[in-house]
């Protein structure tokens, strides 16, 4: 690929690879957007953006296209919004294969269809070899929060029950294995998926979900710490209740990593009032994305801001937010 100079070649590339895939013909720099839900009194707009860099670009269960759509859709969804429209901007390093780009575009469109959103605007830049690392994708998303919906981490109260939608760490482990440089053989696939339908399904059964989070970078540990901090509550989880694949455990043991900090791209953490935990769990399990749902713990009054895990050995340990990588702390 060598389309850096702009001009016709560039327009052809965009038209050929992206526009024709994503949209009704004529995807423009500015999209004019209309949806009936915008007209509901009390509805609010939600707007978010995220950039995606992943190596390798393709991995079991998805590729950079899949996460760039799912990531932004999920960002909107955990805030209570119905995702509607996305933008997509690409920074492409010279030399990337057209087939790769087509693959990414196809994955994006597939995830967009799955989530029920449209990619309505975008941009493409090509940079010289060495100035990028394959393809960088930035997506922004707009959604509408229906009137009266209030899903905020700070709303979580002591006694609320924490649930997750499925197994933890699959995405992080799949990426580690897919890099191919660690000689790790595994069948683990990324959990990369849109979560908006799952959240809507739970909201139908439990309209007052207190808060939702997708446990992306920093894993479950970071998601829980954010909630504990924002809500000023303590959180207690039970190690034995955490859904983890044996294979993920194995990879973590070999590499010396803690699965609580492994990234997920389609795993939801929900907090619901205690009397609604059972219906929330049932609602989650009724949707494919939530089939592996489990109750993992609860919010408590004690130790505000701190997440504690009861271990299988009968102890309890502090699960904190890591500043950087998993650096050893033992003297």
């Amino acid at each position: 690929l060598a389309h850096g100079g702009g001009g016709k070649a560039m327009r052809d590339l965009i038209e050929d690879v992206f526009t024709s895939v994503f949209a009704p013909p004529g995807m423009e720099d500015q999209a004019r957007l209309m949806d009936a839900s915008l007209l509901e009194p009390g509805a609010e707009l939600a707007f978010t953006t995220d950039s995606f860099v992943v190596s390798p670009m393709e991995f079991p269960g998805g590729d950079i296209g899949t996460i760039s759509v799912c990531g932004t859709v999920n960002d909107l969804a955990v805030g209570g919004a119905r995702p509607l429209w996305l933008s997509a901007a690409f920074i492409i390093e010279e030399g990337v294969e057209i087939t790769t780009l087509r693959q990414i575009a196809a994955s994006m469109q597939k995830s967009a269809l799955e989530a029920g959103v449209r990619i309505v605007t975008g941009d493409t830049k090509v940079v010289g070899k060495g100035s990028g690392d394959g393809v960088f994708v930035t997506t922004a998303g707009i959604g509408v929060i229906p009137p009266g919906r209030r899903m905020l981490a700070e709303s979580v109260r002591p006694g609320d029950i924490a649930l997750v939608s499925g197994v933890l760490g699959d995405h992080g482990a799949a990426i580690l294995a897919a890099r191919g440089d660690m000689d790790l053989t595994s069948d683990i696939r990324s959990d990369c998926q849109p979560l908006n339908h799952l959240i809507e399904a739970v909201l139908t059964a439990v309209p007052d979900i207190r808060a939702a989070r997708d446990a992306t970078r920093g894993g479950l540990a970071s998601a829980l710490n954010e909630v504990a901090y924002a809500a000023g509550v303590g959180i207690e989880i039970t190690e034995a209740d955490l859904p983890l694949r044996q294979e993920v455990r194995g990879i973590c043991e070999i590499l010396g990593l803690d699965p609580l900090y492994l990234a997920n791209e389609g795993t939801l953490v929900l907090f619901v009032p205690p009397d609604q935990a059972v219906s929330a769990l049932a609602a989650m399990k009724s949707v494919p994305a939530g089939r592996g749902a489990r109750v993992i713990g609860k919010a408590v009054t004690a130790h505000p801001g701190t997440v504690i895990m009861k271990t299988v050995l009968g102890g309890a340990r502090i699960v904190d937010m890591l500043v950087g990588e998993q650096l050893p702390r033992i003297c």
Binding site: L257, P328, I330
Partner: protein
């Protein structure tokens, strides 16, 4: 008549100091008075010989009193009649003088053994020379109403003793007797049948002893926490205790009724006997006499941790037990020990058969301290009961004006409050990752803050951003400045501060032989040579930086370090070609069935969760693994290194010097730093394995080689400099052999050596160093600001 006013600071309140002054004044026929104030104890005297009063006072000090500072000024006013003890000013008791708990004194011991005394067999007997202090205090100043003795109203005889300046119990806040004080009882916990014959003994105290002798596991609520006990000669009981408590290989402490009994099981030097019998009554690590007690007490180690009874209650229980008993902290392994009755019933029901409880609450959880005697001096390894919270006076040059809070480390956490030029180092808290310990240390910090009326203007933390102590420091700072202190600089500063090295003294060479701590370059340090003063340091040398494949996993599993070290120079093919017959080769291959070799190699090559570390602890792990003394994940921190040292063949320590393993000192690529290279050591060890050299001989050669090269590195760094003083710190210097060899080698080379005594060389001392550094930096910044404004 000419008088004098004396102000005395130090450990002088709540220890029978004023009565001692009163008695001395009576003796010398002086007039005047004595009172507690916020500045210390103030004594006013008039009469003949006032000038000799300070000297005589030093000689008449009660057992627990300690004078830090005494000032004397003339008084022109007229004397009062006679000599009196004046009631304390409101809030006048000095806050910085909270006394550690002290072991039962000989006088009290005689009383509980004398059937004609009213405190015969009373388990809470104490006086101003002994008994609980810190463990019962709830807020300051220290008087009965603010301790957990508050609910017990004094009976008439006790009240009279409390009021009588001539009595040993004058103002003894925890004073009590069988009529008015706390009591003890025994109850059955979740498991085991009740043995009626045990209950039919003299009383519940005796019954407790009976249970232990019958092979039961008994929880005993003691002074600073709850112990789990069983008969130390009963191997089955020990196995059962370990199983129920979930404690794998880590050594269990013992208590024996007297020194004679200790001597039957261990070698006891004079210094060790003194440490055992002192008011701190710590666990002393003693050389084990072979084959007298079950190996399961301290598997693979050559020392036992032994203490003597330190409360009347322990004395009474052990009196009829002519054997040592296990005394381990009452908790499921890894958690802080229980302190409350309900906690015992709740958390220990699955561990202990019976519980011996009492109704005096424990306000401050405090573990037993652990010490060892090396080179004739007491070295505190775990600083807790008996030592904490005794204040450490900061050396000359440190200001009295600043209040600083230092947060300490992640493991073996302590924190340190600096105020009035004193450092108050908390008792050992434990490993913060454990939630109970974490929350407990938070409570303790608030308690210390309240007791010492501490409001820091500055906080000091370790540079590791993920230490829970660092995070807590930032959370508490709330806008106040936070100083990040490099881990090993803090170790060295702790050693300097403990040894009274003045602020502004020329730099020392600090040698930190440690596990690991974050270095300023983002790699993990742990075997460091730092040219340091309190304000700063320069890294002058280190151990060879080697990958930790798997980060924390590598810290726990010695084989990972052995692999990383061997592969650092010698590839697998060379190793396989030359050492195929060794069991070591087989062991690696078995390991590779679960962790593929190429995964390990790529982790190391790409630095993926394989941070580079110059750790001394990991060097020991690698050596222990190669010598065949450790392999898989260890049961407790430092296990591999401890087993490796314990295995040393003492005779091999006097082999010819050429047999010591040959470390070398090349320069690091890049920064040109001299480093200690173990490559030739591994080749020598592998050669010794082929020759079937015993592990104990290899261990001796390794220790000597490492000590030699540390001394050589020190000589090299200090050559052509004026540095004449070396400070030794870091957890690896708790290895007595390494410490002794290095210390002696440096002294032979004409160096002045500073080493740890009452402050642990391990991370337990870190907060003291952090605090001293933060204060030094503050003072020098203020000084610079002043100079600028003057100019």
């Amino acid at each position: 008549m000419n008088g004098a006013r004396l102000t005395v600071r130090g450990q002088v309140q709540g220890v029978g100091f004023r009565p001692a002054v009163w008695r001395l004044a009576q003796d010398m026929q002086l007039q005047g008075d004595v009172r507690n104030t916020a500045e210390g104890v103030v004594i006013r005297i008039w009469g003949e010989g006032t000038q000799s009063f300070p000297t005589r006072l030093h000689k008449a000090l009660p057992a627990l009193a300690r004078i830090e500072e005494l000032t004397m000024e003339p008084l022109e006013t007229a004397p009062p009649p006679g000599f009196s003890i004046v009631a304390s000013d409101a809030g006048g008791a000095m806050r910085a003088s909270i006394t550690p708990d002290a072991a039962t004194c000989p006088d009290c011991l005689a009383e509980i053994r004398n059937p004609f005394e009213r405190r015969y067999r009373y388990p809470f007997t104490n006086c101003t020379h002994c008994g609980p202090r810190f463990s019962i205090i709830e807020s300051a100043p220290y008087d009965r109403a603010r301790t957990t003795m508050a609910p017990f109203d004094l009976c008439e005889p006790c009240e009279a003793e409390y009021r009588n300046p001539a009595d040993r119990r004058f103002h003894a806040q925890p004073i009590a007797c069988g009529r008015c004080g706390p009591r003890i009882w025994i109850e059955k916990l979740g498991r085991g049948a009740v043995h009626l014959e045990a209950f039919s003994m003299l009383d519940d105290v005796d019954a407790t002893g009976g249970m232990i002798l019958n092979g039961h596991i008994v929880a005993i609520r003691g002074l600073g926490g709850v112990h789990l006990t069983c008969d130390a000669t009963n191997a089955a009981a020990i196995v059962e205790l370990r199983r129920r408590k979930g404690r794998d290989g880590k050594a269990l402490a013992l208590m024996a009724r007297d020194l004679d009994l200790v001597r039957h099981y261990c070698e006891v030097s004079n210094e060790e006997a003194a440490a055992l019998s002192g008011p701190e009554a710590p666990i002393v690590l003693l050389k084990t006499k072979p084959n007298r007690l079950p190996d399961s007490i301290a598997p693979g180690l050559d020392r036992l941790g032994v203490m003597l009874p330190y409360t009347p209650f322990y004395h009474m229980i052990l009196r009829r037990i002519g054997r040592p008993v296990i005394m381990t902290s009452g908790n499921p392994s890894g958690q802080p020990q229980c302190i409350g009755n309900e906690e015992v019933r709740d958390r220990l029901a699955d561990i202990a058969d019976f519980a011996c409880l009492h109704d005096r609450e424990i306000a401050n959880r405090i573990d037993d301290s652990v010490v060892r005697i090396d080179l004739g001096r007491m070295r505190v390894i775990r600083r807790a009961r008996g030592f904490a919270p005794q204040a450490i006076t900061l050396p000359e040059g440190f200001s009295r004006d600043h209040q600083i809070l230092a947060m300490g480390s992640e493991l073996k956490n302590t924190f340190c409050l600096i105020k009035d030029g004193q450092a108050i180092l908390s008792q050992h808290m434990g490993d913060l990752e454990d939630a109970e310990t974490y929350l407990d240390s938070e409570r303790n910090l608030s308690l210390y803050t309240a007791i010492y009326d501490h409001s820091p203007s500055l906080l000091a933390v370790d540079q590791h951003p993920d230490y829970l102590s660092t995070q807590r420091g930032y959370a508490l700072a709330d806008g106040r400045p936070v100083v990040e202190v490099q881990h090993h600089h803090a170790h060295i500063a702790a050693c300097m501060a403990e040894n009274g090295r003045a602020l502004g003294a020329p730099p020392v060479l600090g040698i930190a032989m440690d596990g690991s701590g974050l270095g300023e370059d983002g790699t993990f340090w742990g075997g460091e040579f730092l040219i340091a003063d309190y304000c700063g340091y320069q890294r002058a040398g280190c151990l060879k930086p080697v990958a930790l494949p798997g980060g924390t996993a590598a810290i726990k599993a010695p084989w990972r370090n052995a692999y990383a070290h061997l592969m650092a120079e010698m590839g697998w093919s060379e190793f396989a070609m030359n050492f195929r017959e060794l069991p070591l080769f087989e062991k690696f291959n078995r390991q590779f069935e679960t962790v593929s070799r190429s995964t390990l190699d790529s982790m190391i090559r790409q630095g993926r969760n394989a941070p580079v570390s110059s750790s001394c602890g990991r060097l020991f792990d690698a050596a222990a693994a190669i010598a065949g003394l450790a392999w898989e994940a260890q049961a407790y921190e430092g296990e591999a290194a401890m087993r490796f040292e314990a295995a040393i063949d003492r005779d091999a320590l006097s082999e010819p010097d050429e047999l010591a393993y040959p470390f070398s000192i090349p320069l690091l690529k890049g920064n040109g730093l001299p480093y200690i290279e173990p490559l030739a050591v591994w080749r020598a060890m592998l050669g010794d394995l082929i020759l079937k050299t015993p592990a104990g001989v290899m261990s001796a050669r390794f220790h000597r080689g490492l000590a030699n090269v540390i001394v050589a590195m020190a000589a090299r760094i200090t050559a052509d400099t004026a540095i004449d003083t070396i400070a030794l710190s870091g957890g690896c210097f708790q290895n007595a052999t390494l410490f002794t060899l290095v210390h002696q080698g440096l002294e032979r080379a004409g160096k002045i050596v500073l080493s740890h005594g009452k402050v642990p060389a391990n991370d337990g001392g870190l907060s003291l160093g952090q605090g001293a550094i933060a204060l030094a930096i503050t003072q020098s910044a203020n000084q610079r600001a002043e100079e600028t404004s003057c100019a």
